[in-house]
């Protein structure tokens, strides 16, 4: 186990290093941040001055060396636009995103598990067909469209829920969260459902396929012959054996939701870090973009690691070595 852990940690470092290299060099081919920062009336001398101040007059490899040196000290650079540390800006926004993602995962699981299992156990039931049709819609509808639709139906037409923003927050452990207040909770519902839709639909389809596969196997027949109740059969015997691929996909989905809730956040004016990424791309604020992608990469690497560990808990036959 220890040997495995050490090996994985080295792998993670190698992956992150490769990511930093790719992200840094790809970013340097996008628009010139200096021109986005200086006023439109700036003279050539002012532009050159700003370029020197940001260190962008140096050759690319020197810039990368500085960046890597700072990275090793835990410094991800200072935003060109806000003139504050990129890491602080991202961490400041993280609770809002995590909160939103947490609720959309909750919604996805709450809906996808029963629906997926049902559709897998009784594939010919009319209800299963409805579930599958619905999941197809959920996968195909783009979230920006769905978000706007929700806003116009539930907020503008029906007046049931607020259209946008995070609403009132209350602090827990010094961090502001919206779900702790009634007003804030009402604000979460629409964006969380919008964000959950894609994941939910995909999980339903995946769980269904896995369950159908498992239901054909002998141990299910034996279990039924032994007189195990349907509930136990489906949720203990069948689901547990169907879960391994589902956990893999779910892990990746969590990462994707956290990293790229951008569209949903932008539509609902949710003050999370995805919106920060979009704004930074628009202003060519490279330090934030690079820091963001590095954090996201680290997160994915970590989640995948956790997923591997979870495998062993679900299925003792899987050996990490």
């Amino acid at each position: 186990m220890l040997k495995y852990l050490i090996k994985r940690i080295f792998q993670m470092i190698a992956v992150l290093f490769a990511v930093s290299l790719i992200v840094f060099f790809v970013m340097s081919f996008t628009g010139d941040p200096v021109l986005m920062i200086v006023p439109p009336t700036a003279t050539d001398a002012q532009i050159a001055e700003a370029r020197v101040a940001l260190g962008l007059d140096q050759p690319l490899w020197v810039q990368y060396r500085v960046f890597l040196g700072n990275l090793l000290r835990g410094d991800l650079g200072v935003s060109y636009i806000f003139k504050r540390p990129a890491l602080t800006l991202i961490v400041e926004r993280m609770p809002a995103t995590l909160e939103l993602v947490f609720f959309s995962i909750l919604i996805s699981l709450a809906v996808a598990l029963p629906c997926g299992v049902f559709a897998g156990a009784w594939p010919n039931n009319p209800l299963s067909r409805i579930i599958m049709g619905g999941s197809l819609l959920g996968i195909s509808l783009p979230s920006f469209w769905l978000g706007i639709l929700f806003i116009f139906y539930f907020a503008v037409e029906k007046g049931l829920l607020p259209s946008s923003g995070r609403g009132e927050t209350a602090t827990l452990f010094g961090i502001p969260f919206a779900f702790l207040t009634r007003d804030g909770f009402r604000h979460i519902i629409l964006p969380a459902v919008t964000l959950a839709m894609g994941t939910l639909a995909m999980l339903i389809r995946l769980i269904r396929a896995q369950i159908m596969e498992v239901m054909r196997q002998d141990f299910i027949k034996f279990a039924r012959a032994k007189g195990v109740s349907w509930k136990n059969l489906l949720f203990r015997h069948a689901l547990k054996n169907a879960l391994v691929p589902v956990v893999t996909v779910f892990g990746i989905q969590i990462g994707t939701l956290i990293a790229f809730a951008t569209v949903t956040e932008t539509i609902f004016a949710w003050p999370g870090m995805g919106k920060l990424l979009v704004d930074s791309i628009n202003t060519s604020d490279r330090p934030i973009i690079v820091a963001y992608l590095m954090i996201v990469a680290a997160m994915f690497v970590f989640i995948n690691f956790m997923v591997d560990i979870v495998y062993t808990l679900i299925d003792p036959r899987i050996d990490l070595r």
Binding site: T30, G31, D32, L35, M36, I37, V38, P39, P40, T41, A42, T43, D44, A45, Q46, I47, A50, I81, F82, K83, R84, E92, R93, I148, I151, F152, A155, V156, G159, P162, S163, S164, G165, R166, T169, P176, T266, I267, F268, A269, P271, K275, L276, D279, I281, N282, T283, S284
Partner: protein, 514 residues
């Protein structure tokens, strides 16, 4: 200590009385903007929302009125010396910052020094020196006679020297304070900014006591927030939503010509145009070709078909009321036959090919407007190959002007033609401070002379007259092809009293809620 306690007690009693008097009548407003402020410290950057926040919480020596013209604020009056360089300003007495400290001339000196080191330094470039004569009199000495000193000063928001030096500029940005009509309360980035009224504001207490500003960047969501009543007023109503907003009961749309002009840079002087395709000479050097260019464009149909009527076709460089707007400039004419004839006379009966560089996603409908231009120009023989650039690379691509001969872009001019022209149309390389964004490499010595002459004039009226001549000269010479002014569109509840401003700020101080 005792004194302070007494003061606190008195303030508490007074505020309780004030609250008691206004129970149930406390007016508040929620404003939906297109983006969050970059800074609360107004000295950091000249950016629309940052400037708006600067107008809420701070004052300048002068403040711009709704038309964008500077008016006395923290300076009550001023005189210019005979040298045309020394300005003496009398400062308003009894003005206090929100923490109760007095505003004095030292704060002005400090503000100008701070702005010299930031991205706002262009507002201080004309100023050579600031002297404090007494706490309420200062002298500003300019490098050369300047007619735009007052406009520049109006862009500088006065910072509290003692407070800002004590807590440092980074902390100041998160806990800002000035002398303005509203007092900072809270800033949760990308979520809201809240402010309360400064009851002892020198200009009188604001009618609206509590202001919440919400950045909602998605235009459809912003409209929805207005329709649900979550916000009272929004900026930048998307053109496609105007009819829906108008049709909603209790909500209306107000508009105003925007200061932003959409126009073409024309490569009028270089013998070989980098954007000309397949010719070793530059047809645009011929005045007849440049005239044909303007005649071939149907601005009216672009405004009507692409901008849904939400723009103003023009042949001017700035809005009426700004220096350099000229009655002598004829309104734009659309005459494709005449354009063809002029092209033939110039020796291009079959036309020629040229690249048109335009941004896509920087201005409303810019990509479609560029496509319409391309097809209109191609009809008369100026065969346009369209190059659309995403906004993050567009300005980088066109700034040096070494890759294009025809550039469509926009410019928002808050002062006058002189400022605009010295950046955009002054001959490149002649003066390091001028012509930096002359993307079409316009090079007309007579025009440069007029801009220089205007720059050395301290009398605004005389400067205006010179700039009128300059604007007329370059428009008739086809160095610029103005297309249209955009429109600023606001949606608001009918009980909100609001007049749009030239600078696009939605200022609660000037508003009321009925």
């Amino acid at each position: 200590m005792k004194k302070r306690l007494a003061a606190v007690f008195l303030a508490l009693t007074l505020s309780l009385l004030a609250v008691a008097g206004a129970v149930g009548a406390e007016k508040s407003i929620v404003i939906g903007l297109g983006s969050d402020a970059l800074f609360m410290d107004p000295s950091q950057q000249d950016e629309t929302i940052t400037n708006t926040m600067g107008r809420y919480m701070y004052d300048g020596l002068l403040n711009n009125n709704a038309l964008g013209l500077p008016e006395p604020a923290l300076a009550t009056s001023w005189t210019i010396g005979d040298d045309n360089l020394t300005w003496t300003f009398t400062l308003r007495k009894d003005v206090k910052f929100h923490d109760g400290t007095d505003f004095t001339g030292e704060d002005v000196v400090y503000t100008i020094d701070v702005n010299r080191t930031t991205l706002n330094k262009n507002f201080t470039s004309a100023i050579k020196e600031v002297q404090v004569i007494d706490p309420h009199t200062i002298k500003i000495i300019t490098n050369e006679p300047s007619a735009i000193l007052l406009e520049s000063l109006a862009s500088l928001r006065i910072l509290p020297k003692a407070y800002r030096t004590k807590i440092g500029d980074a902390a100041f940005n998160l806990a800002p304070m000035g002398t303005g009509p509203y007092i900072f309360e809270e800033w949760v980035k990308e979520d809201h900014i809240t402010m309360k009224a400064n009851e002892s504001y020198w200009g009188g207490a604001p009618a609206i006591k509590k202001v919440t500003i919400r950045p909602i960047s998605n235009a459809a969501t912003r409209t929805a927030a207005l329709l649900t009543g979550e916000v009272d007023i929004i900026e930048d109503v998307p053109v496609r939503d105007v009819d829906k907003v108008k049709a909603t009961e209790g909500i209306e749309v107000v508009d105003r010509p925007s200061e932003r002009l959409i126009y073409l840079h024309v490569d009028a002087h270089r013998p070989q145009g980098p954007g000309i395709i397949g010719l070793d000479k530059n047809p645009l050097t011929d005045l007849r070709v440049r005239k044909a260019l303007s005649l071939a464009i149907n601005r009216g149909s672009i405004v009507k078909m692409i901008m849904n009527g939400n723009a103003y076709a023009t042949n001017q460089m700035v809005l009426e009321g700004r220096r350099g707007y000229s009655d002598k400039i004829a309104p734009p004419v659309y005459d494709p036959d005449q354009a063809k004839k002029l092209l033939a006379e110039a020796g291009y009966p079959d036309g020629f090919k040229v690249y048109l560089d335009a941004p896509n996603g920087r201005y409303p409908n810019d990509g479609q407007v560029a496509q319409a231009l391309a097809s209109q120009l191609t009809k008369v023989g100026i065969q346009v190959e369209l190059r659309l650039h995403p906004k993050s690379v567009f300005f980088d691509f066109v700034r040096p002007g070494d890759k294009s001969s025809l550039v469509m872009t926009g410019w928002s001019e808050p002062i006058d033609v002189g400022e605009m022209a010295s950046v955009l149309f002054y001959t490149r390389g002649k003066n390091p401070a001028k012509g930096g964004s002359n993307r079409g490499h316009y090079a007309n010595p007579a025009f440069d002379d007029l801009i220089d002459e205007a720059g050395g004039t301290a009398d605004p009226a005389k400067r205006g007259e010179i700039l009128e001549r300059a604007a007329q000269m370059i428009v008739e010479d086809g160095g610029i092809v103005p297309l249209y002014f955009q429109q600023d569109l606001y949606g608001k509840k009918k009980n909100v009293v609001f007049e749009p401003r030239a600078d696009k700020s939605i200022l609660a101080y000037e508003m009321d809620v009925k």
